[in-house]
């Protein structure tokens, strides 16, 4: 059965960039969200076992999504993909139980490294 994968970013290009960087033949069913609110709705609907999450977004940002996931007790595995590359941003999302952090711009190599690290592919 394919893994329900949610990609959340306000930029169309960034979402495409992530989709393009997914490993070949990875059995996933992709849902797209353009802000945190949409992402939470998708997660509640069971479409987000895995989440690739941007931080800086309008309406509801990535930090708030991580908090909401914890609060609502979802089992979502979140990998943050962000342009905010300050060490402090990294430690903040890790404290909010993100699985890992990838610096933008994302590419195939970086993404598959992280996925391999956690045995996800």
């Amino acid at each position: 059965m394919p893994i329900p994968l949610l990609i959340c970013d306000d930029s169309k290009m960034a979402r495409k960039q992530v989709q393009r960087s997914l490993p070949d033949g990875w059995d996933v069913e992709v849902t797209l969200a353009t802000n945190g609110q949409e992402a939470m709705e998708a997660i509640r609907a069971g479409k987000g076992e895995m989440l690739f999450l941007d931080l800086t977004m309008p309406v509801m940002d990535g930090y708030q999504v991580l908090e909401a996931i914890q609060r609502e007790g979802h089992k979502t595995l979140t990998i943050v993909i962000s342009a905010d590359i300050q060490p402090e941003a990294y430690s903040r999302v890790m404290a909010l139980k993100a699985l890992d952090f990838i610096k933008k711009p994302v590419d195939r190599v970086k993404l598959s490294e992280v996925l391999h690290k956690y045995g996800l592919v």
């Binding site: 960039q17 800086t56 342009a83 905010d84 300050q86 402090e88 941003a89």
Partner: protein
Amino acid sequence: MSNALTFNEDQRDCLQEICNVAMGQAGDSLARLLNVFINLSVPYIRLIKAEEVHQELRSLINAPQVSAVRQAFYSPQGNQGLCGESIVIFSDASFQELAHLMAFEGRELDARAEQELLLDISNVLNGACLNGIAQQLEEQLGYSAPSLIGQHIPVEQILDKEKLTWEHALSIKIGYTLENHAFQCDMLMLMPGAAISHLMSVLDQFLEDF
């Protein structure tokens, strides 16, 4: 240059994301320089005509008095490539905060050290942000030394002595705020029409590769 110089939706989205990434890099540089955490917000990008610059400045910058620094950037392709001037504007109120943060061993900064700080921070932001944009677009940029436009001047005076030879300006408002400090600086990239046309074609190419 035609008045039809506007970004389509894809170009805008693409530039926005490129600026996001570049801003992230610039924010990281500033954070390392100041040893503080920088709160990033979504950059506000607009393409304006030169004659709208003053109005744009007034609406962007919500401060009675500011200090401003200019720095030119240029490409090895000359004025056919990415080139123009970047203006970094600090509100006076926020700069005092910053000067406080940077004061060595509690000593207040003297006027020269204050100017140096303005120039250094502008240089770091311009370098990091513009290099970030250029790298993603696989372009190269060089920079002139930054120079002071003025300190403690009203917003209207930032460009009032200048004869604007730019037809269009790409206005990128990047609000860097420091946690627990009132600090905001804004960046305005002014480019001649040819450079903006060039930017558009590079964006199109970038989008085609998708």
